[in-house]
Every structure is written in structure tokens, then in C-alpha cells.
Symmetry: C2
Subunit: 433 residues, 2 copies
């Protein structure tokens, strides 16, 4: 019989134990920040009705982008982000939730497209949203940025420092209005702006000319990327309002203790559903990773599910993207994550198992991560090799003598030093070092 | 426009925030036990190649049981358990892992069948496996049972006490051989034994007669359920070997400190891939939940993926099944899980936001779960109502006076007592109570 393949499907992530421990440690720290910030953790289904996932009817095309399937008469598929499920959930539980409602999700998302390097088909994102009914202060936008900043700080030993770029959708809306662009031009220019970094200045300029054919308008748009909003002060009420919102917001961010925030009007978050301020976090030492986290304000989260207007600010941290890419590039030091345990209990002879179990239970009761090697007929050499391979800090050797005298031969695996100790002293010894 | 449905698909679980907090608390405690026991957490893809998920070619029938779909030429689907992915992973990483290898998974699994009450289409199981190459002492089977027992003890305030039934596949193999059953009879009788509890004694007896048509053999099989193995001592070498393995194992379990374990030869774990000792955990106060956790020993985990023989013992805790059912039956007290926070900071007037942010950051730095109400134009009444609704333990009110004097008006939401404090005293006050 042919053996089945052992590799996961392409685009699916599978970590080794030490990598997984680092991944879990980072998740745990960042989730700790979210909990301390009063976010409610939600764990929503990974499968949604197709009509929830999309408004479009071109199933064949959508099927190439998503994982879709049918059960009975129901078309359904795997979520591609956290927002669509959140909108459904919040709309369905308006009376069960207290607003402003803080929600966080840390879950797997799925993209059906063919896998490319750095693009996964199954990946984790960590979302956070603060939602109000009918209104919500932009102070919350500053708080979300503060929380993401704290979350990234909690893992800065792995990812290094970060900065955040803040943009404004209303600024562009007001500018397009001021420049009297047609709806079609607005849309095309917005797409150009979104792709600007990828295409480079020349191609961007050419795109503007194609779309607008008006050197004056083109130059004014281009000036945003060199001079920011300066040129547009006192040009229109809407421009002034957008500019002053942005300036005030930077002050609020600073009040909230967010360092390394800067205005970058080129930050637009593409064609997503944002309507207000938008932001993107970058890792200063890892420009190759692009955006580590991004988000912004939306004016109507759940309009497709409810007549109640849910206004909010949300963001997603590209968790797998960030950590898995760093691991794939060998940019994370795994040495601290090599071992699952502090102590490996080695048992010489099955008649000593009962005493060894006492020791193991006592260590585990003290929250000392402990494995026990229970193939008691194996030679000492094999057993100590095992303890060495799993990078146990200590081997606790139990043979006839130890069992009889209720002692433990404790070997420090780093120094090689070994001495007999009581169980109580062993626990102290392991905890003190 | 019609609004889209807000309910999740049938068979999919969606918890409210307080329920989710209880769920997460139980997961965290149980995972803590697994980590203390040196298990390596694995997070494998939820999607596997169809050929990995099944050996069968009757796709139409399998499609009703699983979520299957096709991308390009590749048939794939969502995992229905943790074992199939584990087998693939271990076989693919034989040289990266140290054996005996301890693996644990806490992940969502999927069943495509139509949903019934208590049967979910998406659910969490918590798996643990210890695997050796070519051999593995049954001491590890005892350890796995000990670890599950500790995990269930860590949540006993929610699920109550448990006990564990231990059965033996080799016993039945030896008995069938001793009774000289044909292969077809062996299979049919084994199915009957597995369904015995559901069908009741009469139907079971009738089934045996249908299959065997031999009153003597039928009675001997029935005697197992009344007298255990007693009648079969000294009947055959294989029976004696199975019986003595089971008796020794009960002693090992007791050495490992496992209370409430008992032999129950009716425990067989159905048609699963187990080949040795098997076990099932039940909750003493919740017989309606059936088996809370179950597992056993397998002789060849990854034979379809590798020529290396991986022998092991594994178990799964029916995590969603247990906790979601208890919540659905209102058998879990959510009162301790109602609030996401300790402190709600209420800000009267936007000019006080900067000082409020200082307070919020300081509290979060001290790991005090804190939300801040940032719609600063809302009246005190609205803000305190919010703090009340989210069951905050303390409201920290910041107005003009507090901001000017760098003080905080701290209100105990339970007693109603309120007093002005410095930030340092506020932190002490919240931490001490």
C-alpha cells in the first residue's frame, strides 16, 4: 500500500513544538493586554452561511477566493475575516450586550486562493473592536491604537519596536470633492492611492494622468505625499474639518501615551469598509512584513443584519503573518522555547514506579512542568539521553536506593552537578534556580 | 433590502461573553494541567486532504458526514477529530521529535451530519497522546488517566466529581477466541457490546442469539456484565494475560493516585482504532452527558503515513460537549463571570481625558482589568449605568476637581461607598479587596 502524504496542504501552517511554544507565548501576552483592557473574548463559528459571507452571486468566482460548500440546500463557507461574524453576532445580541461593547477575537481565518509565499490559506488574526449604538467618540479610536501598541510592546523582544501611521478617509473625501472629481474618478484615484507604494511614483503619476488628465489636480493630489495636508488648510469646510479631526486625534493619541504615531495620509486601508480615521502599524526592523496591524473607524458595522446603527472602531493584528514569517526567516530565537519541562523524572526499574509517581504528582502540584520516563526497563543511558534531548533543566533519577530512602538524585542538566535530595528540597531547588 | 439572518447555522455554538469567560477559564485550567505534565501543544490545520481524512472512496456518502470541498484537483475537508492530523504530523516529523512524544491539541473539529440536540457540527475537543516508537510501557496509559483526572479536578467546581471505567480490548479478543467465534461473529458481537447500554439487556440478549445461536456462548458473554472476568480465570493463556494486565493496571492507577477508577469490561470505545486498554470518564452528577473523556491504547497510529511503528496511548476530552451542554441546561453558575473588568473609569468632560488616560494606563500596567468610558459628553447617570451594567467592581470617576487635584473618586459598586483617593491608593484599594 502506498503511504499517504505527511506534508500539510500548501498554504497551511504547521509548527514544531518549540515554535508553537513561542507562538503561544506571544498570543498569551497579547491576549493578556486585551483582557486587561476589558475586551470580551468572542469565539464565533468558523463556518457561516454564504449569504452572510458575501453579497455577491457570482459563486464560481467567489469559490476561488473562499472555501465554500453546500449541505442540503444551504450554501456555506469558512470565514475570511473576523468582522463579518462579529457584525452578525452583535446584531443578533443587541439586547444581551452592553454598549460601548468591546469585543476581541483570536481565531483562524481562511482564504481559498492559491497559496503564495507569506500568504496563508489558514491563519490567525487577533481582532479588537469597540462598538457604540448611533454614536461613539473618536477617543475610542485612540484607545484602540493604545491597546495595539501595548500588545506589540508586550512582544517587542521578538518583533522589535513599532510605529503607527494614521490616515483619514474624510480627508480624501473632502479633497476629491474640493477637486470636483466625478464618482468614477474618485474610485479610480482611491485605488491608485492604495496601490501607490507598490507601484512607485512614476506609475502612480501615470495612473493619475490616465484618470484625471488635469495637471493641476494631479499635482495637488501628489502634493499630499510630499507636504501632507498643509496646502489644503482653509480650502474648504470639509477639508478643514478633516484636517482638524486628524490634528486633534494626534494630540489625543499623545495624551494616551502612544509614542511613534505619525500622520500618513497615504494610509487608507484600501477598499475596506472604513469611513473615518484609519491606521496601520509597522515593525521598524521588519519593513518586509508590511503592515503588522491595521484598522479604523466604520459608520455602520451591521447594516446588513439590523436596522440599529452600530458605529465603531476596529483593528486586526496579522498574528500568523507576523510570527510565522519571522520564524520562517529564522529571525526569532527559539532557544528559550526548546523544552516543554523543568524536570524529567527517570525511573530505573518498574518496582520504583509507585514512588516515582508520588514525586511526579508532588512536582505537578507545585506547578513544576514535569515529565516522567516510564519505560522503566530502559537503561540509564537511554533515559538520560531523553532528558537531554527534551532540554529538561533537571533530571530526577529514581532507583532502588532513592525509592527505599525516599530521596531523589537531582542532576542539573546544564552544569552536570548531581546530588541526593529530599522531595521538599528538590522542589525548592528547582523553584529557586 | 431584506436583513440577513443573525443566528449561526444550526449545530454551531455561539456563547455570550460571560459564558465565554467561563468556557475560557475552564480551558485555561485544564490546559495548565497538560502543560505542567509536559505535553507539547500542537496547533494543526483544520483542513486536511480528503485522502488523509478517509480511506474510503464513496465520496457521496462521506460528504454527508464531513465537510468536504475541492480546490483545483485537490479534494479536502475539515478534520473530524485530532488523531488523523496527529498521525500525519508525527509521521512527517519523526526526526524532529523526541520519543516518547507527548502531544496535546485543543482545537475545533467538524462533523457534517445534520445537527441534533447535544451533537454539534463544530466543537472543541482537548486531546492528549503519548507516543513511542515500536514500544511504550502501559505505565503511560496510567499517566494519561492521571492527567485527565487532574484536568477534570481542576474544574470540579463546575462539573462535579468524576470516575473512570477501564476496559480491555485484549480481554474480548481472548474471550472471542476462547469461545471459538468466527470473524463475522466477533465483529457483530463487538458492535452489540458497544451498543449494549443504549439497547438494554433484552435487545442485547436477542442480538446475541441472532448472531451466535448458542446458549452456552451467549451466557458466557452475558456473564461478563454481571460477574466481570472472574469466570474466565485459568481458561486460556490469552484470557489470563489480558486479565492480569488489567489487574496490574488497576494497581498502577492506584499508585498514580487515581481515585474512583474501576474495571468495566463493557467499556470498549466502539469501533475506534484502540487495541489495548481503553477507558471512559463519566461525571458522577451528570450521567446525562455520557462520556466526558475517553481514550485508550493503539498499536499503530501512523501506519498509513510511515513504515515506522508508532505505538501510543491517547484520549480526548469532549470539551464543548461537556461545558456547552451544562450551560444550555443552566447548570453552571455564571455570576462570577459577568464582568470583563475590575474598574470602569468614567470621564466627565473631554478636557479631563488626558488625566483619565494616565489613570487607565497606570491601572492596566498593574494588570487591573480596566475599561474607560470615553463618550465624555454623556451625563454621569448614563456613565454610571454603564459601569453597573458591565458589573464593574469599582467606578473611578474623573471630573474637573479630580483632574485638577490629581485625585480619583472611587465608588465601590457593590456597597455604594465612594471616596477620593490618589492614584496609588486607588490601585492598592482595588488590589486589596
Amino acid at each position: 500500500m502506498d503511504l499517504k502524504p505527511t506534508k500539510p496542504l500548501s498554504g497551511f501552517i504547521e509548527l514544531l513544538p518549540a515554535q508553537q511554544r513561542l507562538f503561544d507565548e506571544c498570543a498569551s501576552r497579547m491576549l493578556g493586554v486585551l483582557k486587561t483592557s476589558g475586551f470580551n473574548m468572542l469565539d464565533l463559528p468558523a463556518i457561516e452561511r454564504a449569504e452572510v459571507l458575501t453579497d455577491k452571486d457570482n459563486w464560481d468566482e467567489i469559490e476561488t477566493q473562499m472555501f465554500l460548500f453546500q449541505k442540503g440546500d444551504t450554501k456555506m463557507g469558512l470565514r475570511y475575516d473576523g468582522t463579518v461574524g462579529l457584525a452578525r453576532y452583535v446584531a443578533g445580541h443587541l439586547n444581551d450586550l452592553t454598549f460601548p461593547f468591546r469585543a476581541s477575537q483570536f481565531s483562524k481565518r481562511y482564504r481559498g486562493e492559491r497559496a503564495q509565499r507569506g500568504r496563508y490559506r489558514e491563519f490567525y488574526q487577533m481582532d479588537m473592536d469597540i462598538m457604540g449604538i448611533n454614536s461613539l467618540s473618536t477617543n475610542y479610536d485612540a484607545e484602540i491604537i493604545s491597546v495595539i501598541s501595548r500588545a506589540l510592546n508586550s512582544v517587542s523582544e521578538f518583533v522589535g519596536p513599532h510605529y503607527v501611521n494614521v490616515g483619514s478617509r474624510p480627508f480624501w473625501d473632502a479633497l476629491f470633492q474640493y477637486l470636483d472629481l466625478t464618482d468614477a474618478q474618485k474610485k479610480d484615484v482611491f485605488v491608485l492611492i492604495d496601490k501607490r507604494e507598490k507601484m512607485g511614483d512614476e506609475e502612480f503619476a501615470a495612473g493619475l494622468t490616465d484618470t484625471l488628465g488635469d495637471a493641476n489636480k494631479e499635482n495637488q493630489i501628489k502634493s499630499v505625499f510630499t507636504n501632507g495636508y498643509e496646502f489644503f488648510v482653509n480650502k474648504s469646510v470639509n477639508l478643514d474639518s478633516a484636517i482638524s479631526e486628524l490634528k486633534n486625534f494626534m494630540q489625543t493619541l499623545s495624551d494616551f501615551g502612544v509614542a511613534d504615531a505619525r500622520i500618513d495620509l497615504g494610509t487608507t486601508r484600501g477598499l475596506a469598509y472604513y469611513t473615518g480615521l484609519v491606521f496601520e502599524f509597522k515593525l521598524a526592523k521588519h519593513p518586509e512584513l508590511g503592515t503588522a496591524a491595521g484598522g479604523g473607524r466604520y459608520a455602520d458595522l451591521a447594516g446588513k443584519f439590523s436596522k440599529t446603527k452600530i458605529i465603531g472602531v476596529g483593528a486586526a493584528i496579522g498574528f500568523s503573518r507576523m510570527f510565522v514569517a519571522l520564524m520562517e526567516n529564522n529571525q526569532l530565537d527559539l532557544s528559550r522555547f526548546l523544552s516543554p519541562v523543568d524536570a524529567a523524572v527517570l525511573v530505573m526499574g518498574n518496582e520504583n514506579v509507585a514512588y516515582a509517581f508520588n514525586v511526579v504528582n508532588a512536582l505537578r502540584d507545585e506547578n513544576i512542568a514535569t515529565v516522567v520516563y516510564l519505560d522503566t526497563d530502559k537503561k540509564f543511558k537511554n533515559q538520560i539521553e531523553y532528558a537531554d534531548k527534551i532540554s529538561a533543566r533537571f533530571s530526577l533519577i529514581i532507583g532502588e536506593d532513592e525509592s527505599k530512602n525516599k530521596m531523589i538524585a537531582v542532576k542539573n542538566m546544564q552544569s552536570g552537578a548531581q546530588s541526593q535530595m529530599s522531595l521538599a528540597d528538590t522542589i525548592k531547588h528547582i523553584k529557586n534556580i
